[in-house]
Amino acid sequence: MTDNPSGIIPAVESLPLAEAATAEPQAAAHRPRGPLAKWLTSPAPWLNVSGILGFLLLWHLLTTVLRLPLFDKLPGPLETVGEWFSRNPTYGISVFTVEYYQHIGLSCLRVFLAFLLATALGVPLGLLMGWKKTFCDYTFPVLELLRPIPMLAWVPLAILMWPGRETSIVFLTFLGSFFATLLNSWLGVKSIDRSYFRAAASLGASESLLFRKIVWPGAMPFVFTGLQISMGYAWFSLVAGEMLAGEFGLGYLIWDSYILVQYPVIIIAMFTLGVVGSLSSLIIRLVGNLLIKWKVKEA
C-alpha cells in the first residue's frame, strides 16, 4: 500500500500492544519463580505433611492403642516401619535384604513388558481405528465384546494358553492395560477437530502426511491420558496375576505373607506397590509433558 491514509495508524498502534499484554501476562515486575520454589513457600507442603502424620497417628491409634476388633490383627505403623527398615528383619523382608528388591524388580519388569506391549499394539491400533472408518467398523464390535470381560475371567485361559507362569502373568497384565490404551487412542483421534484435517488437505497434505502431522500430534494428549490409566490397570492386573500364579513379585509376596502369617510384610509390600505405582505414572506424565509442550503451556 503506497498511500495508507493516516487514519488507520492509531488503531494499529494501540491494538497490538493490548494483545501482547494478554499473550504474556506475567512478563512484568516479578522475577519468575520455579514451580518447586512456589510450592515450597505455599501452605501445601505443610498440609501434605500433616495429612500423612494424621494418617499414621490414626493407624497407630486403631491398631496399637485402641485395639478395635476390626484392627487388632493388623500390625501398627511402628512395627511395620521397624521391620521395613530393619537390618535384621524378623520375616526376612526389609530395605536391607536382596529379596525385597528381587520382588520389586520382577514386578516392575513384568509391568514394563506388558505395558510396552500394550502401548506398541494399542496406540497404533487405536489411532488407525479413529482414522479409518472401515477399519473401525471391522474391529469395534470385537473390541466392545472383549473389553468388558473382567481381567480375572481371563486367568484360566491365560494359564492354559501360555507356557509357564511368567508369560501368563505378563499376558494378564497386558490385557489389563491394552484396552485402556486402545480406547483412549481411538478417542484421541475422534477428538481432533475436523477443521484441522480440512486445513491440512487444502494445504496439500497426502494421506500419510495427514496421519503423521495431524492424527499423531492431535491425538497425543488423549494417548498420554490413556497411558496413565493403562499403567494403573497394569499394576492392578499384575497383582492379581501374581497372587494366583506367581513365585515372586510384590503381589505374590502379599499373598505368601498372608498364608505364612507374616503380617507386617503385607503392609510393606502394599506400600511399596503404592510407591512404584505413583512413580510409574509420574514418569508417564513427565514424558507426556515433554512431548506435548503446546498443551502444557496453555495452562
Partner: protein
C-alpha cells in the same frame, strides 16, 4: 507505505527502518475465476430432508473481493465448503478457471470461521506447513518469505509461540498469513473475524485490506457485518433465506485504498441503504420461517439502519 509492525512494549517507529516487505520470491500466480452454476446441496438430518442451497449461480471475478452476506443459516458456510471441495454438491457445477472442482487443494485456501491453526505447531511452523509439505520452498528462502509476511501483520516476535499463546486477533492474522504464503488462486474466508471485539475487528480489516491490496488474489469473503462487507468488497453478493441462492449482487465501486473515512460518503451510504433493505427482507423471511437466531439478526439490522 507499510503498516508498521508494533512490538510489545515499544512505540511505533515514525520512519520505518525495515525494508519494504518484498512479497513473494516469484510472481503471484494469476488470480482464479470461479464459476458456480445452479448449485444444489441438501442434507439428510434427523428432522428430515433439508435443502440448504438451491439453484445458486455466481461468478466470482478474478482479482476481486466478493463479499457474501445473508441471514444466519442460509448456507454461506456450506457454500464455502463446497467451493473448497470439502463437500460435494448434490447438483450443479463449480469450476475454477474452467477446471471442475473435485476436492480440496492449495489453489483454494480457506480461512475458517473458527481458528484452524494447528495447536501443536508454532506460528512459524503453521505458516511454513503448506510450502514445506509440498516441497515448494525451503531453507532461508522460505524463512525470509514467512518472516516478511509475519512482519506485515505484526507477528514476527511471536514466531515461536503456540496458537494457544496468541490472542484471538493474532490467531486470525497468523491464519491469514498461513493461507497467503501458499499464493492461492482463490482465498475463501468464512467470517474470519467473527467473535473478535469491535476494535480488533476493524484492525483486522485493515490488515486484510493491506494484504489484499498488496497481493491481489480472488477473494470470497463471508461476513455478517455490513460495514465490513462494504469496506472490503468489490462486489457484494446477497444470499436469500434458506435454501440459499443469490438474491442480488451489488457493485461496490468505491475507490481503493479504502478506510473508515469512506463511511460518510454519499455513494457508501446509498449502497448501504440498498443492501440493508435486501438483507432485512431476507432476515424477515427467515424470521417467519422460524430460524433460531433470526430474531437477533432482525434486531441487529434494525439497529444498524
Amino acid at each position: 507505505m507499510e503498516i508498521p509492525s508494533a512490538r510489545p512494549g515499544e512505540a511505533l517507529p515514525t520512519n520505518n527502518p525495515e525494508p519494504p516487505a518484498q512479497s513473494f520470491p516469484d510472481n503471484d500466480p494469476a488470480p482464479g475465476r470461479i464459476e458456480v452454476e445452479s448449485l444444489y446441496k441438501s442434507y439428510e438430518t434427523e428432522s428430515g430432508f433439508r435443502e440448504v442451497i438451491k439453484d445458486l449461480s455466481l461468478s466470482v471475478t478474478e482479482g476481486q473481493v466478493t463479499a457474501i452476506m445473508g441471514p444466519s443459516g442460509c448456507g454461506k458456510s456450506t457454500l464455502i465448503n463446497l467451493l473448497a471441495g470439502y463437500e460435494k454438491p448434490n447438483g450443479g457445477k463449480i469450476s475454477i478457471d474452467q477446471k471442475p472442482v473435485t476436492g480440496a487443494g492449495p489453489d483454494r485456501l480457506v480461512v475458517f470461521q473458527e481458528t484452524a491453526l494447528f495447536p501443536w505447531l508454532t506460528t512459524f511452523e503453521n505458516v511454513a506447513y503448506g510450502p514445506k509439505i509440498r516441497r515448494e520452498l525451503k531453507g532461508e528462502k522460505l524463512d525470509s518469505v514467512i518472516m516478511s509476511l509475519l512482519r506485515t501483520v505484526g507477528l514476527e516476535d511471536f514466531r515461536d509461540k503456540y496458537p494457544s499463546q496468541l490472542s484471538g486477533g493474532m490467531q486470525r492474522r497468523a491464519e491469514l498469513v498461513r493461507a497467503l504464503v501458499n499464493r492461492p488462486k482463490v482465498m475463501l474466508l468464512d467470517e474470519p473475524f467473527r467473535g473478535l471485539d469491535a476494535m480488533t475487528r476493524s484492525l483486522m480489516r485493515d490488515y486484510y485490506l493491506d494484504l489484499f491490496e498488496r497481493h491481489k488474489g480472488t477473494q470470497v469473503f463471508v461476513t455478517s457485518e455490513l460495514d465490513e462487507g462494504l469496506l472490503i468488497a468489490d462486489r457484494l453478493a446477497i444470499v436469500t433465506n434458506r435454501p440459499g441462492r443469490i438474491k442480488k449482487i451489488l457493485d461496490v465501486a468505491l475507490p481503493r485504498p479504502r478506510d473508515e473515512s469512506l463511511r460518510g460518503s454519499p455513494e457508501y451510504l446509498s449502497l448501504k441503504a440498498e443492501a440493508l433493505e435486501l438483507l432485512h427482507e431476507e432476515a424477515l423471511k427467515s424470521f417467519k420461517a422460524g430460524a433460531v437466531n433470526s430474531a437477533d439478526f432482525v434486531g441487529a439490522y434494525a439497529a444498524m439502519g
